[in-house]
C-alpha cells in the first residue's frame, strides 16, 4: 500500500499533448477515480503510473519514491484492463499464480494464495477452467484476483466495468468496492461513467482535454462543480448566463439571472465568484421541480410549458420552455407525468443552485 503523487506531469505524443501540466496527490489506501470523456487523458495518466508510458516531463512518485526510471515489472502494481487481458492458454489458477512466480513466494505456498484470491472474488471452484469458459463478469473477477494476489502497492483499474452489461456492472461495482475496502489497497480507477465514479470513489478527479478540471469528494464535485464542464459532465445541468450584483456580508452571492430573476446563492456554492460582474448560474436538472401548485415561501416560481417528455419509470426527464430558454428537469414521479404542452410552474430553491464566474 502506497501513496501516489504526480508532479507537474506532461505527456506529449509528437505534436499532440495528451496530458497538460498536472499534479495529483493520491493518499495511501484511497479509492481515487479519474473521470472524463474519451480522449481526456485519464488512461494516459493511468498508463504513466503503471509504467507503460513514460511522462515527457514531471515526476511520478509511488510511496514517496520516484519511479520514472523503474520499469513496469519492478513497480509492484496490480493492473486490471477493460478487456480483462487474461492469458487464454493458461487455466484460471495459472493466470492467478502468474505474478507469484516472479516474487519470493515458496512454490508450496502458491496454491493456497491462489485459492485465497479466488475466494475473495467469490469464484472458488473455477481454478482448473480456461478463461473463455467463464462469463465476462467472472473473467473480470479473475483479472482482479490476479492483480491483487501479488499484494500490489497500488491497484490500477482501466475501465474494468465497461465491457459488462448494465445489471452486472452495478453488481460488480459494489463487489469491487467491497474487495478494495477489505484489502485497503490504494486504488486508481479510470472511467467515463459518472455514476461509477460517484458510487465508488473517495475522491474524483474530473479531467477534460488533458487537464484536471476539479478534484474533490463525490458530493463536492457533484454539488459544487468548479467549471461548466464539470457541471455538464456529472449529471444534467442548466447553465444560465447571469450577472453577479454583489456579495453579501455573510459571503452569499446575489445574482440577476434570466427567467428566475433575483437569486441568492450560498457562499459555499459559489467559491469562485468574486464580486460584481458576469457570472453563470448552475441549476441541476433534478433541482428544478415541475408543479401545478403555487410555490412555498422562499422558492422561486416561474411559469413554463412542457415541450418533451422522456419517461423513465420512477423518474421523468422534461424539456420545458420558459420564455426564450429551454431547460431540462429530472423529477421523481409516482403517477403520470405531465403531458407535452401542459402549462406548469417551475419551482427552484436558490440554495440548491451553484454559481460560476462568467467569462
Amino acid at each position: 500500500m502506497s501513496s501516489v503523487t504526480l508532479n507537474n506531469i506532461v505527456k506529449r505524443f509528437g505534436n499532440f499533448t495528451a496530458v497538460h501540466r498536472s499534479s495529483l496527490d493520491i493518499a495511501e489506501g484511497a479509492f481515487v477515480t479519474l473521470l472524463g470523456p474519451s480522449g481526456c487523458g485519464k488512461t494516459t495518466n493511468l498508463r504513466m503510473i503503471a509504467g507503460l508510458l513514460d511522462p515527457t516531463e514531471g515526476e511520478i512518485l509511488i510511496g514517496g519514491k520516484r519511479v520514472n526510471d523503474v520499469p513496469i515489472h519492478k513497480r509492484n502494481l496490480g493492473l486490471v484492463f477493460q478487456n480483462y487481458a487474461l492469458f487464454p492458454h493458461k487455466t484460471v489458477a495459472e493466470n492467478v499464480a502468474f505474478g507469484l512466480k516472479y516474487r519470493d513466494v515458496a512454490k508450496s505456498d502458491i496454491p493456497a494464495k491462489v485459492e485465497a484470491a479466488l475466494d475473495l472474488v467469490q469464484l472458488p471452484d473455477v481454478g482448473h477452467r480456461y478463461p473463455k469458459e467463464l462469463s465476462g463478469g467472472q473473467q473480470q473477477r479473475i483479472a482482479l484476483a490476479r492483480a491483487i494476489v501479488i499484494e500490489p502497492d497500488v491497484l490500477l483499474l482501466d475501465e474494468p466495468l465497461s465491457a459488462l452489461d448494465a445489471n452486472l456492472r452495478e453488481d460488480m461495482r459494489v463487489e469491487l468496492k467491497r474487495i478494495q475496502a477489505r484489502i485497503g489497497v490504494t486504488t486508481v480507477f479510470v472511467t467515463h461513467d459518472q455514476s461509477e465514479a460517484l458510487a465508488m470513489s473517495d475522491q474524483i478527479v474530473v479531467m477534460s482535454a488533458g487537464r484536471v478540471e476539479q478534484v474533490g469528494a463525490p458530493e463536492d464535485v457533484y454539488n459544487t462543480p468548479a467549471s461548466e464542464f464539470v457541471a455538464n459532465f456529472l449529471g444534467a445541468s442548466n447553465i444560465l448566463e447571469a450577472k453577479c450584483t454583489g456579495t453579501r456580508a455573510d459571503g452569499d452571492v446575489t445574482l440577476e439571472a434570466p427567467i428566475f430573476g433575483q437569486m441568492t446563492v450560498p457562499a459555499a456554492k459559489a467559491p469562485r465568484v468574486e464580486g460584481a460582474g458576469p457570472a453563470k448560474l448552475v441549476v441541476r436538472a433534478e433541482k428544478l421541480l415541475l408543479s401545478k401548485e403555487k410555490a412555498a415561501e422562499g422558492v422561486v416560481s416561474v411559469p413554463a410549458t412542457v415541450e418533451t417528455v422522456d419517461y423513465q419509470g420512477q423518474a421523468v426527464r422534461y424539456f420545458v420552455r420558459a420564455g426564450e430558454t429551454q431547460l431540462q428537469a429530472i423529477n421523481m414521479i409516482d403517477g403520470h407525468p405531465f403531458a407535452e404542452g401542459s402549462q406548469i410552474n417551475l419551482h427552484l430553491r436558490p440554495q440548491d443552485c451553484a454559481a460560476l464566474p462568467g467569462e
Binding site: 503503471a50 509492484n76 502494481l77 492469458f87 492458454h89 502468474f98
Partner: protein, 288 residues
Amino acid sequence: MSVEAREARQPWILLSPALGAVTFLLLVPLIFIIVYSFWLRSAIGGDQVGFYLDNWQKVLTDRFYRDILLNTLKIAAVTTFICALMGYPAAYFIARSKGSKMVLLLLLMLPFWISYIIRTMSWINILGTSGALNTLLVSVGVISEPVQMLYNEATVILGLVHFLLPFMVLNVYVSLEGIDTNLEDAATSLGATRWQAFLQVTLPLSLPGLAAGGLLCFVLGAGTYITPVILGGPRDAMFANLVFEAIITQLNWPLGSALSLLLLMVLGVLVAIYNRYLGMSQLAKGLG
C-alpha cells in the same frame, strides 16, 4: 420449395465452384496418376496397360530413390528451421510497428510481383564467379581468384529460404496480430520482464501461426523443382527433379507417377504426424 430445403441447398450452391475445381483439377488427375503408376513402360516405347507392380517395387526398394527422398526431407526441414528463425522476429516487428505496418506488409509482398524463377536466377548474378560478391572480394583483395560459391546444397537452401520466407512471415504475422497487446502489458505488470512475458504469453499464443508457416514451408520446400535445377549441382537433385526426369526426359509416365505418389504419401504421413503431435487444433482451442 420449402424454406428448409432452400437453406439446405444453399451451402452446396456456394461450394459448387470450389468442389468442381477440386474434382476436375485435383481428384481426377490424381486418379489418372494412380492408374498410370500400375502401368508399365515397355522397352520399345509406349505404355503397357495393365496391373504391374514393377514401378512400385523399384521406387520402394532402390536405394537411389530412398537417399534422394531423405535428402529432400532434410533440405526442407533445414529450410523450414531457418525460415522460422529469420521470419519470427520480422513478423513480430511488423505486428508491433504502428504507422508503417501497411508499408512493411507491401514490401513483404513485393517479391511475389517478380517471377520466382527470375528471383532464383538473380542469385547467379550475386554469387556466380563473375557475380557481385566475387567481384567485390577480388577488388578489395580478400581473394585473388573468383571462388565458385554456387551449385551446392547450401545455395539450394539459400534459394528456398529466399522463396519461402514471406510465407513464414505472413503466417506468424497473422497469429501475432490476433494477440491482444494488453496480455504482454498484463504479464509485465505482474513482474515478468519483457522477455519473460514474450516467452510465457506471446510465443505460446503465436505457435499456431508458427506451426502453419512451418508446415507450408516444409511442404513447398520438399516439393520444389526449380531451385535445385538453377542453384544446385549435379548431386543436389531433389525428389521432384526425379519425377521431371522420369516423365519429361525418359517419357516414362508410369515410373514418374509412382515417384510422385510416393512423395505425396510421405508428405501426407508427415503432415498427419505433425498435426497429431503439434496438435494445431489443440493450440487453437485456447484462443477461443
